[in-house]
């Protein structure tokens, strides 16, 4: 037993050095979050939120607005829930999950220690972006978590806030942002190297903030009572602008270097880095409704005159004008190795059924046109003839978060609705169309004169007809670019008139989406109960700005 004595210290020693021995838990692979300064967070947040916007949000909007449909010639299924209007808690949950999770990085910028206002410009940009995207969450879901949101581990079950209260707070955020920009101290860091949206131009950030505020106020255009009073006061505050003088675009250095470097518009809908088509290029087809909206009667195989009406019984016929943008937004499908004749598919049809009267149908339908989507203002130099490696030249083009034309149409709507505060409706309307033509690289010709002779599509007729015309032009301008905006316009105003898919199982488009499954799994105590049919009815779940929505 004597010999045991020397064993005890050996064992003890083994434990003594333990603390140091076990101190190997600092990650050599990932930085800790306290090292993520606003300059590291801002570019990632800007790109990540835009990816959600141009991806699932854009796609859903374009299918819901009957611009896109499935290429039934080549695909047996796809867009089934969207066309049948089978909404459930898995339906486009990526919008909710994606936006909420990415917005956390803007919140982290806002919450980052900011002594002496060093990060004021970052905070201002973060607040504006947060308002811009949070508005979409409210517009698509009504009441959402807000005051307790983005707190990370500190609160993984945030309570829900009233959608109108959130709107008010979003406007406050914009006000605070403008205030920070206007009063930024001399030592405030220049965000230019890290701002991949507006390149640190704080004047443009102010314009963007004003335009977002205009959009928030116009969403409330159908509101009455105290909400209308509030809306009018906030409209008055920004009536003098300035509003966007150009696009809010994004480009963190897009290129064809890797799939991650591609601008998401290209990687989602057009090309792989080896310039081959992604599947969506073949899968997404021009819908019959988009065809009829953009092509004249004589170029369309209308079976009956009755089907010239956008919606049977609406009394509004398609404009009967071939829009030069049509061939930019959609190009003929590939047939026999070359670009074939133009055809389209009525949503819900199981065969390709819309084309010129002389074109054989079925056959491959039109697909998304590269020149109308990924060559804005001929950035790639394709039409100018300076491009060398088509389509590789598309790889570095900008993405678009809010276009100048959208800003023009918002102001035109404000001029129609609030003539006491805003004016110059027709000019702004035509400026919006003009910019859209430039964006799509289409020659405008006599288009404006022609369309202005058609009520509901151009600047003529009653205010209601002008509102329809604004929504219609905005729809075309944003088609494929930011589809969700037009869909929200539609739920708010019913414009532009949009037919349902023939295999829809509902009688109208939804006012909103169903809360996603992640909420029912992880935040069941707070998330309101919802049935799959709730989005189609006006009830307490309907966003507050929908006409007739309670409270």
């Amino acid at each position: 037993m004597k010999k045991l004595k020397f064993l005890v210290p050996i064992l003890a020693l083994a434990f003594l050095s333990c603390d140091q021995y076990l101190d190997v838990n600092d990650s050599p692979n990932q930085l800790t979050f306290d090292k993520a300064t606003p300059s590291k967070l801002l570019p990632g947040a800007q790109v990540s939120t835009y990816r959600v916007q141009v991806g699932s949000m854009n796609q859903l909007g374009n299918v819901f607005m009957n611009s896109w449909t499935r290429n039934v010639q080549s695909f047996g299924n796809g867009f089934d829930k969207e066309l049948q209007l089978n909404l459930d808690n898995g339906f486009y949950a990526s919008i909710w999950d994606g936006l909420f999770r990415e917005l956390k990085n803007y919140q982290a910028i806002i919450d980052y220690p900011n002594p002496n206002g060093t990060y004021d410009n970052y905070v201002a940009a973060a607040k504006i972006c947060k308002s811009f995207y949070t508005q979409y969450l409210v517009d698509l879901y009504g009441n959402i978590p807000y005051s307790e949101a983005w707190k990370g581990n500190a609160n993984v079950t945030p309570k829900y806030d009233d959608d109108y209260a959130i709107y008010q707070s979003l406007i406050t955020q914009l006000e605070e942002a403008r205030n920070l920009i206007d009063n930024a101290p001399a030592n405030a860091e220049d965000i230019a190297p890290y701002d991949v949206m507006l390149e640190g131009d704080m004047t443009k950030w102010t314009e963007f903030a004003n335009t977002v505020q205009l959009r928030l106020c116009l969403r409330m255009s159908q509101c009455t009572g105290a909400k209308a009073t509030y809306r009018d006061s906030k409209l008055a505050a920004i009536a003098g602008g300035p509003f966007l003088s150009g696009n809010v675009s994004i480009n963190p250095g897009f290129s064809g270097a890797t799939a991650d470097n591609l601008t998401p518009m290209i990687s989602n809908y057009f090309y792989n880095t080896d310039q081959s088509n992604v599947q969506n290029r073949t899968f997404i087809a021009m819908s019959g409704h988009a065809w009829k909206s953009l092509q004249s009667y004589s170029t369309t195989n209308y079976p009956t005159a009755g089907s010239q009406e956008i919606i049977a019984g609406s009394g509004v016929n398609y404009p009967n004008l071939t829009d030069p943008r049509s061939v930019r937004i959609f190009t003929g499908g590939i047939q026999g190795g070359a670009v074939g004749p133009r055809r389209a598919v009525n949503q819900g049809s199981s065969s390709v059924n819309v084309a010129a009267p002389t074109t054989a149908i079925p056959g491959p339908p039109c697909r998304l046109g590269a020149l109308g989507h990924i060559n804005p203002y001929d950035q790639a130099g394709i039409l100018a003839g300076t491009a060398l490696g088509y389509p590789a030249d598309f790889f570095g083009v900008d993405g678009f978060i809010m276009t100048f034309s959208e800003s023009c149409f918002l102001q035109a709507e404000a001029a129609v609705r609030y003539p006491a505060l805003f004016s110059g409706g027709q000019t702004l309307f035509e400026e919006g169309i003009n910019d859209s033509f430039l964006f799509r690289n289409a020659t405008i010709g006599t288009y404006i004169a022609s369309i202005n002779s058609r009520p509901n599509f151009g600047w003529t007729g009653t205010d209601t007809q002008k509102l329809h015309a604004i929504m219609y032009q905005k729809w075309i301008a944003l088609m494929g670019i930011n589809g969700i905006e037009s869909y929200i316009d539609y739920t708010r105003t019913g414009f532009p008139l949009t037919p349902l898919s023939s295999n829809a199982t509902q009688t109208r488009k939804p006012y909103r989406l169903v809360y996603p499954v992640s909420e029912y799994v992880a935040n069941s105590a707070n998330v309101p109960a919802m049935s799959p049919t709730d989005p189609f009815a006006i009830n307490t779940l309907t966003p507050f700005w929908v006409p007739g929505a309670p409270n």
Binding site: Y21, L22, V47, S48, T273, A522
Partner: protein, 1062 residues
Amino acid sequence: MRSKFKWIFTLLLALSMQFSFAQEKTVTGTITDGNLPLSGANVVIKGSTKGVSADLDGKYSIKAKPGDVLVVSFSGYEKKSVTVGSANSYNVTLKESSKVLEDVVITGAMGIKRTKDQVTSAQKQIGARELTQAANPNAIQSLAGKVSGLQVNTTSQGVNAGTRIVLRGNRTITGDNQALIVIDGAISNSTVLGQLPPEIIENLNIVKGAQGAALYGAQGVNGVIIVTTKRGAKKDKFTFGFNSAVDFENVNFVPKVQTQFGQGWASDPGFDDPSIPGVLSTFVPWENGSWGPAFDTPGFPAQVPVGLPQADGNFFFSDWKPIKDNIKQFFQTGTVYQNGFNFNVGGEDSYAFLSVNRQTTDFVVDGDNLVRNSFLFKAGKKFGKFSIDGNINYITQTTSETDSDLFDDLIQTASNVPVSRFKNSGNEGHWTVYAQNPYWITKAVRNDARSNTFNGVLTLGYKLNKNIDLSYTANVQMRNSDAQSHRDAFTNINTTFSIAPYTYYGADAETYEALGGSASTSSFFANQSSTRNIYGDLIINFDYELTKDLGLKFNLGNNIQDRMFRVTTQGGANLDVPGFYHITNVLNPANPSTLDNRFVQSRIVAGFMNADLNYKDYLFLNATARLEQFSAVKNSYFYPSVGVSFIPTKAIESLKNNKVLNYAKINASYTSVGNTSAVGVYQTNELTTIPQGFPFNDLAALGYNRAPTDPNIKPEFVNTFEVGGQLGFFNDRITLEGSYYVANTKDLITRATASSASGNSSILTNVGELENKGFEIDLGFTPIKTNNFKWDIRTNYTTFKTKVVALAAGATSVNLQSNTQVGIFAEVGEEFPLIKGTAFVRDDAGNIIVDANGVPQRTSTFQKLGKGVPDYILGLTNSFEYKGFRLTAVADLRVGASAYSFARNLLLFTGGDLDTAGFDRTQGIVVPGSVTTTGAVNTTPVANDASSVGVLNYFTTTYRAVGEANVIDASALKIRELALSYSLPKKLIEKAGLESFRIGINARNPFIFLADGSLLKANNGLENRGYADPESSNTTGNAQGIINIGQYPSTRTFGFTMNLTF
């Protein structure tokens, strides 16, 4: 080889000559137990190293001098000594030892050896013979069906099959549930065990009971499999062994498909033969669908074009009729060769053993192969108070595998397609434009890997005095892996080809892309990873006889573990020169932020103690304690256990030497161990992530980590109470063993889904409680045991239920994986893992309710559809021995689990599933057994569409989109092993200098009976008509219950083995 063997013989002969003296004579005799010959009994001349073993008939022959004492021994029998006199023949009868069970020494946790009586929780030993009887190259797979409480799943097929080893079900929902693997005293893993040639394994001790594994702390929470490799015999003799096995492998089954309708798409009438306009109707030769015309359509051509035009511009033509199991044509007969030899030399205080094994496998998929070489060298020496034992195991393995997702492409094949004719057609001439040619994939997509595993164990022992000794076990495990994967491009999609004389929508020229086909990008990735694990145990062993009746063995130890892993990956898309696979040839190298480049290190320090007390020879107590700290988790944790066992047949006078009940044991134990396997190294720090899809083009970005870990996370504690017993009747002709246990997991670690509004997608934290209850019974029966014939039956029954008792406040379920149709959940009050998904809306009588258009209604929320674990597992081993023959059969039956099958989902889409046929498609489909919302019998065809298009739309979009429509019964009865071996009689082979010679034929998984309604009825989902092997899974993790299509069908093997020693 032959000439070298001769040389060895000569050497051996020369060596043995030295021991030959004059005056010796040959003594012979037979050793029996009074009835049966004791084949293998040892006869040793006392005081010498000379000895022989008795042959199969119990006969021995030894050279001895008069006066020599022959010591005759046989395991399980009492030794007997015979003095050689003038006679030349001595028959010996040995008496069966009453302490037979005690003599079996079992290696437990930390290498502590105990007798069976002393073991206080359930353990089961599997010996070399049971392991290798069917020559399975994977020791893990060959455990299936043989051990109660153990579920071995082969989750993926291939040259490098994935396996999942779970003892007694699940105790955690996020952490690891798989058993710990310990090889020769050091913690290892299932990858290494799977690569270890079964030939070099001496035995496996499967420690099911938590108490037996408690000394391993958190790592032992799921039980442990203790592997002991062979060591040199103690015979002072040089032996050489040789083993060889060859197996032929082929596909067991493929999904059954309908044979009523051929290739085509019901809504696509575009393909036409202008000479017989309209006759082909919905037939399309490049369709992946089986939605074409019926094979018995009157007037249809006897032969049709199939696939795209070939390189010569012409179509293949084939008969317009179904070909049975046509996709089986794709698979070849695979082979598995295993060859090995070993040298063995030993003595009283030293030994050395060398084993060299080589396995080459050619899988049933062309080009998939494996070559594995394994070297094991063990040696040991005792020198006075010191002892040293070392072993070095080096395994080198090369594999080449294609993408198993090709099975997805393969099952999209109409039954009229003559699959094998498209072997050289590429994608351009494939039988469908909507899936890639699997033959092309086998060449275009390859994952090649090389790995080298080095494992060295060194044990030093020092005997201080008769009561105290020390030992130190050091283990270094190093593993280098070098993997390359590449995918060739397919871009030839815009070339125009003629389909004349046929037309498609009036045109006779087409392109691949215009028909809806897609290009695929080339890519190349390479990664190198290295693992370096150090394991060290210092143990001080005390052995005291406290009083005459009370003994104490006490072990005190310290354990350190240091684990390092580094992986470096490079690669990207678009190869400049096709077919050259190197990073310099990659045009678009992937951004490093998207690649796996990391270094991970973790350490464990623990102190432990073990105490074994025995009172007389019938009452035993074992207590263990471990204080452990894991570097990735704050604080250290204490894991205690205690167990007792009692042997009534030795304690109670009236039960001693009982003829009926010869053995009885009862044991009980309580264990409290924590599990930290779910906590990732470094993850308790608040870390950043790299934003997904950020270009990193001269600008960097960081983002919030959306899946954080609670910084104060602590182990989930599993408290297990177990009782068990063993009974032996009629001298162990009947044995019965059973255990019952309740394991409660507190502070369950879960990656709980978070509200996305928090900015998190999930958080890993301590929430909830799990209960795992179950029992297992092993029944052994030897109905016949005569001189020449022995029949053994071993059955085992396993059942357990893992129930979620509680989750975090407000949460009722945790989602482990899900898609829009189905998910795997842990849900309060339900068994885990639970399969939930969308279901048909039904009335109270279970009828599907349809709307006014005959369309079935689907629930908007997920319903309970089944569970991913079986209700019970029944294993059966039957063995017959007749003289040198041995026939064994191993089977197991698993009942009660369900699985979501993506194969069924796809077959419903392509119209290949049996459910899409069996009726006249042109009349539409009325949902079978459906009622209207008013409860009336429904007669409306789906979507009011009484046409083939209506049927097509129903199955492709409505029906298969419902989770319930794809959940199949995962029950199965498998004949796992059939083996017949014959050991040649010794007298026949000894002239050739051989000590033993055994040949055998065997089959693995020769028969599998699925729940397809024939033998097994489908009660837990739809019939499994060959959709998938129910063991397969899209994960080796806990979320069992979803079977993706990227799983090859299971295979069966038939083969031969040969083993010889001399």
